[in-house]
């Protein structure tokens, strides 16, 4: 053992740091494990087919979360539909068009600022602007548009990262064959950044599903069962908002835990999907 030769203080220091590190690392692991196991154990037994497939009714005192599930799906679709063109377009502008460094700096600073703003502020401004100023009332659409602003930086950043990996020679080759700029972007650049767009989508879906503070005042907390277009124009709770309402305002902890277990499952799934797609694209690029 080389440690024998070291002075006592040094050995003490090393021992102390090693212990602290082991304690902290295992604490982090234990925490994750506890959260997953606790939520699943408390939640999974409460997930019944009736809960998943019905809407709540005061008459029969039944609680169902089908509307909340559908609302979550609607809001994810609506948000992605709007945020994708915006975010990808912004990323393309930054990497392909922008020559003025000042504009680039301003846009990137704006994106960083956006990603630091707390969701409750998004909720507030979304309520003022979309619900009141644009007259959308409390609706899923207003909620989705609020989430668009929130997720814009994510899509932008992941697309930008993958655009940077498209080799310059591809673009030059296409230009050399006489293609215009737009044609180069459409046929060479965009196909090259599909991986970034998909990663961005997965990350955004995760954020949208987990978001609650921004939706409380923009999308509201109604539990009506609607189709896609009707749903977008009416108020509705997503799963997270429903969890909050059931736990905090109605004290229905069984239902809350069932929703929490579903959310936990979705989070696991999304993380797995993000991991797998990243690995898939990295291998594909390495070939």
């Amino acid at each position: 053992m080389p440690n024998k030769k070291l002075s006592r203080e040094r050995r003490g220091y090393i021992g102390l740091m090693r212990t602290l590190m082991a304690v902290c690392a295992s604490l982090t692991c234990a925490l994750v494990l506890f959260l997953i196991v606790y939520v699943l154990i408390k939640g999974v037994p409460n997930i019944t087919w009736e809960l998943l497939s019905t809407s709540p009714s005061y008459l029969t005192q039944r609680i169902g979360i089908l509307p909340d599930i559908l609302n979550t799906v609607y809001i994810v679709i609506a948000t992605l539909l709007v945020v994708l063109p915006l975010g990808v377009g912004a990323a393309i502008y930054l990497t392909e068009y922008a020559k003025n460094q000042k504009i680039v700096a301003v846009i990137e600073y704006a994106a960083e600022t956006l990603s630091g703003i707390p969701s409750i502020i998004y909720g507030l401004v979304g309520m003022l602007f979309f619900c009141q100023f644009l007259g959308m009332q409390t609706s899923l659409l207003a909620g989705a548009l609020t989430l668009v602003i929130m997720n814009l930086p994510t899509i932008m950043r992941t697309t930008q990262e993958s655009l940077k990996t498209v080799p310059q020679s591809f673009r030059e080759g296409a230009f050399g064959l006489g293609a215009g700029k737009w044609r180069v972007i459409r046929t060479v650049v965009l196909p090259g950044c599909v991986d970034g767009i998909i990663t961005g989508c997965i990350l955004s879906v995760g954020r949208i599903i987990g978001e609650s503070a921004a939706l409380l005042f923009t999308a509201g907390f109604a539990h009506a069962l609607n189709g896609f277009f009707k749903g977008l124009t009416s108020a509705g709770a997503t799963l997270t908002v429903a969890l909050y309402v059931y736990a905090k305002e109605q004290g229905e902890f069984d239902v809350a835990f069932a929703i929490a277990a579903i959310l936990m499952g979705l989070t696991l799934l999304i993380n797995l999907a993000a991991y797998l797609t990243q690995r898939y694209f990295r291998r594909k690029k390495a070939l």
Binding site: L6, I14, M17, M21, A22, V23, C24, A25, L27, T28, C29, L31, V32, L35, Y38, V39, G89, A90, I92, Y93, L94, Y97, A98, I103, V106, I107, A110, A111, T113, L114, G116, I117, P118, S119, I120, Y122, G123, L124, V125, L128, I149, L152, P153, M156, K181, S212, A213, F217, T240, L243, Y244, A247, K248, F253, F257, A260, L263, T267, L268, Y275
Partner: protein, 290 residues
């Protein structure tokens, strides 16, 4: 023909420029809306009375709008979360970046990103049913919904940000630094803590600032465990944060009370802007550091 193609390209360029500027537009929109809707109440109440008033009674017959309890609670809560979360996150980060075998590292990193992905309401729910009763029994207080519960929940919630950013900073330390230290006779562990960590200090500072931003902006989880009464902060008392002050009264507020809520949001926004500026400063220095 040629000019037609040129016009087309110019139009496309213009469209992409507009898409790029949407982000800037959003930031301006948020800033302008918060200022415009936040100023009137401050003007009516008086800046000093608003910021340093210790009593918040928005629904009383003679309402008083002092938000010092919220500001202090947010500061104390964030500080508490940092005091607990940073050492744990930092030590875990050093382990992950320098010592952990690749397999353990992959597993732990996915565990950490899972922690980041769990919705805040789930944290709030677990906090409500595990942490709050535990605090009540452990410290023999009548209600466990307290500043302490919020601090613990926040500490857990900022862990992923701290770990991820610190790991990235520690991994970017040039290997030559560490090799030099090892050659001079320092043990690996001494090298990590006395050479790598100081070399990555700007990045680690950025991690801490990011954690501060996360903690001060969190609303839902805190709302579920902190009890939500507008007291001056004290560890075992029910408290209200800047974020939860906005969230809890928004649905039924009107008139001056509603405007005061916008003013609170403006104060929160100013805090966040300061934190963002600090974050940028550290990230920039981290890049230029080597």
């Amino acid at each position: 023909m040629k000019s037609k193609k040129k016009t087309f390209e110019t139009v496309v360029h213009g469209i992409f420029l507009i898409l790029g500027l949407v982000t800037v537009g959003c930031v301006l929109l948020i800033t302008v809306y918060l200022i415009v809707s936040g100023i009137p109440a401050i003007r009516e109440i008086g800046l000093i009375k608003f910021l340093f008033g210790t009593k918040w009674a928005s629904t009383a017959a003679e309402p008083s709008y002092g938000i010092l309890p919220f500001i202090l609670t947010s500061i104390y809560g964030t500080a508490g979360a940092i005091v607990i979360g940073v050492p744990i996150g930092f030590m875990t980060a050093v382990y992950l970046a320098k010592i952990a075998p690749p397999k353990i590292k992959t597993v732990m990193e996915s565990a950490v990103s899972l922690l980041a992905g769990i919705p805040s309401v789930v944290y709030g729910l677990v906090g409500m049913l595990v942490l709050v009763p535990a605090i009540r029994n452990l410290f023999r207080v009548p209600d466990g919904s307290s500043l302490l519960a919020a601090i613990v929940v926040l500490a857990v919630m900022i862990l992923p940000s701290i770990i991820n950013v610190s790991v990235t900073a520690l991994e970017a330390v040039p290997k030559e630094y560490e090799d030099a230290s090892l050659t001079l006779g320092a043990t690996p562990l001494e090298t990590y803590f006395r050479v790598s960590v100081p070399a990555a200090k700007s990045g680690i500072a950025a991690a801490v600032v990011l954690g501060v931003g996360r903690a001060i902006g969190e609303a839902m989880a805190v709302m579920m465990v902190s009890g939500n009464v507008a007291n001056m902060p004290s560890l075992f008392q029910s408290v209200r944060f800047l974020t939860t002050a906005v969230a809890s009264e928004m649905s039924y507020s009107s008139g001056l009370q509603r405007q005061a809520l916008f003013s609170i949001a403006l104060v929160l926004y100013l805090f966040i802007m300061m934190i963002n500026a600090m974050l940028n400063f550290f990230l920039k220095r981290n890049k230029e550091g080597r």
